[in-house]
């Protein structure tokens, strides 16, 4: 798969491969057929695999996820698309009370190989409900696996791994990075739940995922000019979390800063900070800091730049970490 692919195309390729390799794989969602999805992630798939396998559903998210559960019970491997982050909530019961618990309730006798793809997070100048980062709701629910790629290679391979998983996976796609291009390698070089050090450094660890990885890489490049070598870890998986990799990095650098778009309060950063503090306490030069959204509804697009963590907000936290 030589050459540069956008994240969108890399995802499209992963869906195509999954449809090819397993006749039980079916795609379901609103406008995923002829239109190819509003982000064109399923572009051309209905044409090639037919309306039986790439299914335009009625406009009902609870229906989409609920029937995906039924299809899974019947031996299928549904990959559903939720059109935008803010439209998954009508399916919340089906996801957190049904999908997440079915395997345990059946004492392991049934499996739920359902992938729920959701374009998430902000930065695209959209109207309400099109920019939300709701990963914590899902990560808080045992029974779900939650992952999010930040680049084309991971987008492709993580989606294929997610579809192959026999557990339900919430697959969060950073929509503002859909058009970012990157090399997609010939094989998955990591397990679905492994973190990746995307930039090595010695003075502090930036921990990010999805859309914020790029921001952290930019911050690390800028910090280098100030003589600070920042390590950037792409978490990739939000549950389970690769704590071993994080612990190793933070013990080495002595400082950790978690960056996400979701509100700081009770976000992923809270859990990461707490556990890393427990694991790395005697190695820390500063408390684990968090940079994220505010405790407020995602704002109108003309002010979203002020809501979203950017290079300055990350560097400001780096300064604070060094000031301890």
């Amino acid at each position: 798969m030589a050459g540069q692919l956008s994240i969108a195309k890399a995802l499209n390729g992963a869906l195509r491969k999954s449809l090819e390799s397993d006749p039980k794989t079916v795609l379901m969602g609103e406008d995923i057929g002829k239109l190819g999805g509003v982000f064109r992630i399923t572009d051309g798939l209905q044409k090639d695999f037919g309306e039986d396998r790439v299914i335009d559903t009625p406009l009902a998210e609870s229906g989409i996820v609920g029937t995906a559960i039924g299809l899974a019970l019947r031996g299928y491997r549904p990959v559903v698309e939720i059109q935008f982050d803010g439209f998954v909530y009508p399916a919340f019961d089906q996801i957190v009370s049904q999908l997440a618990k079915m395997h345990a309730r059946a004492l392991g006798h049934v499996k739920m190989p359902v992938t729920v793809r959701i374009p998430y997070a902000g930065g695209i100048g959209a109207v309400e409900h099109h920019s939300e980062s709701h990963e914590a709701y899902f990560a808080h629910t045992a029974g779900l696996r939650v992952v999010t790629p930040s680049n084309a290679h991971d987008a492709h391979w993580m989606l294929r791994q997610a579809i192959e998983s026999d557990d339900p996976v919430i697959f969060l796609e950073p929509k503002r990075r859909y058009w970012d291009k990157g090399e997609v390698g010939e094989s998955a070089d990591l397990g679905l739940h492994d973190a990746r050090i995307v930039r090595p450094g010695a003075d502090a660890t930036l921990i990010a995922y999805g859309p914020m990885v790029k921001v952290c890489l930019e911050a690390a490049a800028a910090a280098e000019e100030d003589g600070r070598r920042l390590e950037v870890v792409d978490l990739r998986s939000l549950t389970p979390v690769d704590f071993a990799a994080l612990e190793e990095s933070v013990k080495r650098t002595g400082r950790g800063i978690v960056v996400h778009e979701a509100p700081v309060f009770l976000g992923m950063g809270a859990e990461l900070a707490a556990r890393l503090t427990e694991r790395c306490f005697y190695h820390l030069e500063a408390p684990i800091l968090r940079v994220g959204g505010y405790y407020a509804p995602y704002p109108p697009s003309r002010v979203e730049e002020s809501f979203l963590p950017d290079l300055d907000r990350v560097l400001d936290a780096v300064d604070r970490a060094f000031a301890y």
């Binding site: 009625p58 959209a126 704002p299 979203e304």
Partner: protein
């Protein structure tokens, strides 16, 4: 069985129920044909004076003009997005003008024509599409609720509001607007159930514009949508959604039916989305141009103009004055949008709660201090 019980309901209830018989062809209530002929319908007699017809014509033209202006403002980058009502003017103006001042409308994101009838300043509608707010008007001022983007959610709010009207012993009524796509949502079906069992004064006004983004109505339903009502126990009527007179008459009847204690009504306004779903959409990917062409012949404005001209109810001077007024409206909208200031970022923290909240207050203070550090040049 089905046929018999429907027949029984027919005697008792509304005229539109007639159309719910299982074997009946979908009946379309029409009072003004695409050719501009005035026709009668036995269940929906309508007397309209010349000045009322002219006023409806004015509404239709101005609403279309406003919509076109918004579309071009989006192309110029002044708006982030626009959801055009092109083709649906009659459904919105007809139903909007059927409302009394005390009635309440719960729109989707496309009801610019209803907003117009409720006297909401068109500029207020543009704030959320420009990205300066998420609503931008006081719903209770004109009894026009905020736009709702999450498909179908507002139908439950409308029903709850209607339940409140009943508790108050008032004789107001509510219209819940939604689309053909929305008819599949759980919320909409729950709204039907609540409204039915509580006999709530709510009119469910479904604009079947044949499309939910790229999905044709056949993706949502196997029967004509108005027939869904019979399963919930209330009347359903299909009306020509491009016929402003039929929409007016049927909605008036439905609101009266609802406010006099007879419970909800479902109106399916059979119409067509002439434009893209929104300015982000590309309909050439999923629908044929000749379909759109065919619907052009049913244009809601042309047929009313034909009637006015044929019957000698309006002269050139009238049409010219409406044209001039629509130019003015376009200008006002254009200038108004361009001069809409970007909000102060501290708006993020405004109105998160009605009462003080420590964390929000703390984060607001932090934000202000952080932003000030740039102005003071302390930071980088």
């Amino acid at each position: 069985m089905t046929v018999k019980s429907t027949a029984r309901a027919r005697k008792k209830a509304a005229p539109g129920v007639r159309a719910t018989a299982k074997d009946a062809q979908p009946e379309l209530v029409q009072l003004l044909t695409p050719e501009g002929e005035r026709v009668e319908h036995p269940d929906f007699p309508l007397t309209v004076e010349a000045d009322e017809l002219r006023a409806l014509y004015r509404d239709l033209v101005l609403v279309r003009r406003f919509d076109a202006e918004a579309t071009s403002l989006q192309r110029q980058g002044e708006l982030g997005l626009w959801a055009s009502l092109l083709g649906q003017e009659a459904a919105q103006v007809g139903s909007g003008r059927a409302m009394r001042p005390g009635d309440y409308a719960f729109p989707t994101y496309r009801e610019h024509g209803v907003a117009w009838c409720r006297d909401v300043d068109p500029l207020n509608l543009l704030g959320m599409f420009r990205g300066v707010n998420h609503g931008g008007w006081d719903p209770n001022e004109k009894n026009f609720h905020l736009y709702t983007i999450v498909i179908g959610a507002q139908t439950l709010h409308a029903t709850g509001y209607a339940m409140g009207i009943t508790k108050d012993g008032a004789d107001d009524a509510v219209i819940a607007y939604f689309g053909d796509g929305a008819s599949s949502q759980g919320d909409v079906n729950e709204a039907f159930t609540f409204a039915s069992v509580y006999n709530s004064p709510v009119v469910f006004f479904c604009q079947n514009n044949q499309w939910a983004i790229s999905e044709p109505t056949t993706t949502q339903t196997k029967i004509p949508l108005y027939r869904r009502a019979s399963g919930f126990g209330f009347p359903g009527i299909r009306v020509d959604g491009n016929d402003v007179l039929a929409c007016l008459a049927v909605t008036r009847w439905a609101l009266e039916h609802a406010r006099t204690g007879n419970g909800p009504v479902l109106i399916e306004a059979f119409t067509y989305r002439m434009g893209a779903h929104t300015t982000s959409d590309d309909p050439t990917r999923y629908r044929a141009a000749d379909e759109t062409e065919a619907w052009k012949a049913k244009d809601p404005i042309t047929r009313l103009r034909t009637l006015l001209e044929k019957e000698g109810l309006a002269d050139e001077e009238f049409f010219a004055s409406i044209e001039a007024e629509s130019e003015q409206l376009g200008l006002r909208v254009r200038e108004g949008v361009r001069s809409m200031p970007d909000p102060d970022p501290t708006l993020i923290f405004d109105h998160v709660y009605a009462e003080p909240h420590a964390l929000v207050d703390e984060e607001r203070a932090e934000y202000i201090e952080y932003a000030a550090s740039f102005e003071a040049g302390e930071n980088h």
